[in-house]
Symmetry: none
Subunit: 160 residues, 2 copies
DNA sequence: CCGAAATTCATACTAATGGGTGAACGATGC
DNA sequence: GCATCGTTCACCCATTAGTATGAATTTCGG
């Protein structure tokens, strides 16, 4: 974690040198022209306000980067967990393909490795019903095998 | 959102000490100002530097937050892509299950949705050979269907 | 060089899957 | 009420997948 870069230190040194030259010049003025103390102080105030602003910007810039990196790390973890644990099905995709709720249930069980008979048993319907569902679903997914259906459905974020 | 860390304040203090030393050195050189005036001017410089910093903080606060949010969104996309693209197969698992290289190739094509005949054609072997491979592989994976094999293999990080 | 493992292929049989067609029933919306 | 859609079920036929068994060939380490 860098707080000051070499470039920043250099710039700061140059700025300081410039300010000192200015002060020196003003001091000479002060010696020559009496009753100019107010102008001198005001000048210093203005200059150091600017220095402060510049300094703050340098600090803020660095600080912002640090904060951003911290947030990114947090997000990385969050996103990773999100991708692993909470799967959000692409409802728009399901909608656009016209896949029904029942077909989706069949698809899920299919992806889990169940046979048509097992799916039928789990959903309390006949084997023929599952065959109908799978056929319609395959048509909608534009595939003709369950393995292809699973692959495509996972790729399109319909299941998993 | 903090603008100053303890470390930054310390660095600023050191910088100010350096400035004071510089001023002192210049004073000796020029023999212009007495000590009272020097302290007075330094005090003004410090105060207005702080004023400048405070001012800058007020001015840049909103802007900084916006920039941070933008960067976070960009990073989220990056992380997402990384999670998708870098899959590392669990070689230890493959080893421990005793799955051969050829069986793994078959498994991959199987997961892509290919039929045994298609796999045979792609690997330039006969359908019977693929059947043998799948049977042996199913035994090693302790499954008895290709859909189960795909599901388990993905779950165990053998493929995908 | 020998044996184990991997890869290849074959035959035979059974189970599962997929395609096509038709139909009944209920809910939903115009 | 009627049309549409989703869900249910059936029958038939073809293809694909899976199991069992046996065997030839290659590869690789001891």
């Amino acid at each position: 974690m860098k707080t000051f870069s070499f470039k920043n230190i250099l710039l700061y040194a140059i700025a300081m040198a410039g300010i000192l030259l200015l002060l020196q010049w003003m001091q000479i003025k002060l010696l020559v022209l009496d009753h100019a103390t107010e102008i001198y102080i005001t000048g210093i105030a203005v200059i150091f306000t600017l220095v402060g602003i510049w300094l703050a910007k340098q600090l803020t810039r660095t600080k912002t980067e640090v904060i951003t990196k911290t947030i990114v790390v947090e997000k990385e973890v969050t996103v990773y967990k999100t991708a692993m644990e909470t799967f959000i099905p692409d409802d728009e995709m399901i909608q656009s393909l016209g896949i029904s709720q029942r077909e989706l249930e069949v698809l899920r069980l299919m992806a889990a490795g169940a046979t048509n008979q097992e799916i039928a048993d789990q959903l309390f319907v006949s084997l023929n019903t599952i065959k109908t569902h799978t056929s319609r679903m395959f048509e909608k997914l534009d595939v003709n095998r369950r393995t292809q259906a699973i692959e495509k459905a996972k790729r399109l974020n319909i299941i998993q």
